[in-house]
């Protein structure tokens, strides 16, 4: 997925560019996000455009790739600009400063448009190879000499070991929180003394020795949900 952030303020556009790139990394979406000023032409192959309406004479002349596999997000410091923006029917409108939680929710609603750019994992299940989009893999656990993968829709048993499975999962998103568990950081909503709570309500055990590292890894990803600036050194 090629994304472009078009804003007049260089600091703002670099920050949003970094935020979207981090989001894409966490959700395991292959993406290249670039920042540019509104005077530059939007590349024809861009499938995500975040455009700042402030200080620009006109709304972007951009149609996106054919087939509707694109998303247009607009922002402005003037809330009334939301009404003007209906002239080009964006997928979302934000009042500046762009709230990162709202930005991530809008991007999530567009994931289906970039389906071909998602990262997948293949596992052996019942003698056949199964593909699972990594964004839907919530956690995995050791199970009967193999592993049990829990996704947003199903649980899949494989004879592959948790260790072998973990070797194929990106470290920026998946963390070995306990000897028998790997968890997807993107879906964690809270961390207690002995477990992590996921968005679907599941509680995943955290090893005593791993808790500090899990907290650190989670802190590096949680800025998405707390609308704070991404911390330095966040996983890419």
């Amino acid at each position: 997925m090629r994304g472009v952030v078009c804003m007049r303020d260089a600091r703002e556009r670099e920050a949003l560019c970094q935020a979207i790139q981090l989001w894409a990394g966490l959700i395991c979406l292959k993406a290249e996000i670039t920042a540019q000023s509104p005077e530059e032409a939007v590349p024809a192959e861009a499938s995500l455009l975040l455009w700042d309406m402030d200080g620009t004479p006109a709304l972007p002349a951009w149609e996106g790739p054919a087939g509707g596999r694109w998303a247009l997000l607009l922002c402005s410091s003037q809330p009334q600009a939301a009404i003007e923006s209906y002239a080009i029917h964006p997928n979302a409108f934000f009042q500046k400063p762009v709230p990162l939680a709202a930005l991530c929710q809008a991007l999530e609603r567009c994931v289906a448009r970039w389906w071909e750019d998602l990262e997948w994992v293949e596992v052996l299940c019942g003698g056949a190879r199964r593909r699972i989009p990594l964004c839907d893999l919530l956690w995995a656990e050791s199970y009967q000499h193999g592993a049990l993968l829990h996704t947003t829709l199903e649980s899949i048993q494989t004879r592959e070991s948790l260790r072998d499975l973990t070797a194929h999962l990106p470290e920026r998103t998946f963390f070995r929180c306990q000897r028998g568990y790997v968890v997807n950081l993107y879906h964690i909503r809270g961390i207690g003394q002995t477990s992590a709570r996921l968005a679907n309500g599941a509680e995943i055990p955290i090893g005593r020795r791993a808790r500090g590292e899990v907290l650190e890894a989670y802190r590096r990803s949680r800025w998405i949900w707390e609308s704070a600036a991404p911390p330095e050194g966040s996983p890419t």
């Binding site: 809330p79 939301a82 209906y86 999530e108 996704t151």
Partner: protein, 242 residues
Amino acid sequence: MELTIGICDDLQEERVALAKMVRAYCQSREVAVRLRLFSSGEELLADIQRPGQMNILFLDIYMPGLSGVDTARRLRKVDKRCAIVFATTSTDHGMESFEVTASDYLVKPIRMDDVARAMDWLLERAAQEPRPLSVYADGEWRQIPLASILYIEILGHHVHIHTGGGDVVARRGLDDLAASIEGEDFLRCHRSYLVNLNYVRGIEGCDFRLTDGSLVPIRSGDFPALRDQFISWTYRKAWARA
């Protein structure tokens, strides 16, 4: 295609004026329309019990009782696809309109141009939806909405199109039929079968089990790939509904 268009405004003169413009637009575009008028959000919500009852809704915001924005929020719990066009004196609710995925926001006094612009875009978007399946059956041309088709099977020289409202039999090849169906919801799972994945409840053995209890076979030679296509479609659909 007949559109069901609702207009919800507490002021009768506003309802009547907007209805007149919408009717004039539809007549000029030769679009069949059924207009429904409501004087409050409560009256509207009492009437809308399931998705698909209304295609487009023009919705005032400042009304006694339930506001237009709150009405829209409750409507969205029932119907995510109804196009909502806010028609209001206020310019203060543009941000909230995006929270309920509105299609447009018209500021009163509303002119014919405003209605035409909003309707043009909505009709253009509707035209991009997959076209109904056109078949010649029982001596006439039939337009079958794709959403109503559970699966299609070929028996001899005829295709049997199994829909929620009964079967349609046409003399046509399945290859030709499959090529004319747009969108990604249909899967050629077998030499003799085309299935609408929206009606698949799951896989049982080597068959798709549909929501009406039917079993549709999956070509054994390509079972893993076809199963993966179904699973990928299921995950993608879940994201698209988010």
